[in-house]
Symmetry: C2
Amino acid sequence: MARSEQRKQPRKAPAKEPRRNAFYAQSGGVTAVINATACGVIETARRHGDRIGKVFAGRNGILGALREELIDTSVESAGAIAGLRSTPSGAFGSCRYKLASIDENAREYTRLIDVFRAHDIGYFFYNGGGDSQDTAHKVSQLGARLGYPVVCIGIPKTVDNDLPRTDTCPGFGSVAKYVAVSVREAALDVASMCETSTKVFILEVMGRHAGWIAAAGGLAQEKPGDPPHVILFPEVPFDETSFFARVRDTVDGVGYCVIVASEGTRYPDGTFLAESGARDAFGHAQLGGVAPTLARMVREALGYKYHWAVADYLQRSARHIASATDVEQAFAVGRAAVELALTGRNAVMPTIVRESDEPYRWRIGEASLRSVANVERKLPKAYISKSGYGITAAGRRYLRPLIAGEDYPAYRDGLPDYVTLRNELAPKKLPPFEA
Amino acid sequence: MARSEQRKQPRKAPAKEPRRNAFYAQSGGVTAVINATACGVIETARRHGDRIGKVFAGRNGILGALREELIDTSVESAGAIAGLRSTPSGAFGSCRYKLASIDENAREYTRLIDVFRAHDIGYFFYNGGGDSQDTAHKVSQLGARLGYPVVCIGIPKTVDNDLPRTDTCPGFGSVAKYVAVSVREAALDVASMCETSTKVFILEVMGRHAGWIAAAGGLAQEKPGDPPHVILFPEVPFDETSFFARVRDTVDGVGYCVIVASEGTRYPDGTFLAESGARDAFGHAQLGGVAPTLARMVREALGYKYHWAVADYLQRSARHIASATDVEQAFAVGRAAVELALTGRNAVMPTIVRESDEPYRWRIGEASLRSVANVERKLPKAYISKSGYGITAAGRRYLRPLIAGEDYPAYRDGLPDYVTLRNELAPKKLPPFEA
């Protein structure tokens, strides 16, 4: 009854805006939740079929646009697209490819516009970090200049949490949760064995330029004295003497010492610990790993038995332990990007706006791409404890809500049942282009 | 009604057997589920209060018995003991401490019996690997000889899966699941970036003497060509030429190559790759890590961009992604140990007996400690593929059920809410002893 009544109501007049296709690309290092953003973009676009035709995804990110390798997402089932929400990494491929400035390489920007024109693309959604926001900003300017206006929306993504104007970056919360959980678990292992075995455990985490991820390890600590006992931030110049003293004091007092080390830990002169010039017997530079480097230093200075782990890609792909908050926000920025585009906004990026810490409340905001491009947000000094080896209550207050909640993927045969898309390319219409 | 009728029935006559205390100790490397076994022991003992008085747990394993540091588990609430089921690592502490042979060190065995006698301990439950089963076996023999018979039950535990007579060892299934899930996730990351970034990813896993854990990485593969593309087993002598050829062919064919390397990977002469004699600029032996060693070799021979991860303790403490099958079996062997003791069995170990692969069915069996002690179960050759770089269908059939099911811990503030016990020591009754 209700349905037939609805049908009798006069249909809205068709929107004046033309129906155009959309292009979506994933950029830079992938995360556990970037596909949740893709899910938000595609599902929302599908709900606005009157305004948005097909959503094309760039095969391997922006390279897909330059090479006219456009994945036609319209052939994917609703179930497959929904599955993106719980599938880590970049379902369409990503790339590390920064477009040069327009002056240096107008050719690439022109090509983008050519491809957009050939496929009637009126919306450009670029899902990435600072560089990507800069690119999206330039494309929006150039399109207008070249007589092919295209709506350009940046969508935040980075495990490094270093985008400005947004309270956090989708992708970070899940790495933070992985690191905090791993520290808590490994620390229990070390604690239970320290009487006769390992005294010092070092976990190396990502974050070459900023200590956001290392700071998240601090969440594993419930009360003073709990692990982690030492966090090494890129922001705090590494001081051997004070480091050794702290490790020794911790082992003396607690029986063991758990260290979280950012891969970006560096000496006061800026040299990374992991690139400290050591060479192997063949004269090769010793391979990175701040964790093994620290382990060697600890053994030589203090003689403790140690173990070390390097989480590397495991930390940013660990969808199995993703933060529910992060997943929700990743989806929300994807949805918001499409909604912003449809309400006529251009050259903007949806942001996460924190309204309160506890209870944690947030909403979607927006920032101009101009204000976001090429600005790096540093870990605030106020989040690093006075000793330089821990996080403050303020840091904890900021970080804690970002790891809240679990959002488990479905499992089959004991393994996460991640989706694989068909990833069919749309027929090419233009001559090849050498990116 | 039914209840009052039950009450009217004559109560069973009290058991003839005396009520005696029990001693439980965790031994060797801890696992994500060894506390589930402790939970099985303690909860079952509590249900048999007529026969078993207190359960004492050794502080730091067998050292706790030698030092008369007996944790009185009777002061722990039912909720805390239940929480052990989902808390990783050794809640009472563990140790790497192997008792010498009785001839070499009768003093230690005598001390054990003295402590047992002082605290009226009639049941000895020793939860560990091969060495621990050997110790439990010796204690059972010596007790009788010294006129203090004690029921000795070994309980299997080891991530290495190398105990004989049992289909699997509690602890292994959860490491296997962690490794398989991590390989699947990290491989998605590599796949999505390989066009412009990392071509070769190496995950180093535990298993110095046997490739059980490395083999589990093979479960991430759904169909031929899927990652992992290369598994390096300690059982297969490392051949550089064939390895490089396989990596190159994989990168050429698939675009990237995911490698799971056992820490025990070795050259034909038995030298571990991770200890291949490389020295840094200061003449120090290059620190272990088969993963960074392989990474350097790949870069030098093939020039590919690589990443590597070393899971170390993360893999064996990862209760957050434990196998439900493993948790259930870990609990079951703890419960069975007490039940065996109460039915008069001695010098035995409960085992897991597989009844069928699919559907997976298992039951508890038992093996004599004599038959278990000092026997190492190797990874069957039939589980390693002909190439030497993968697992066979038979291997997959064996491994798959062991990672089945998820058993998530409770979370608070975004982190697993693991229990911490009070761990109060029982008053000492004997003079000190230097272990």
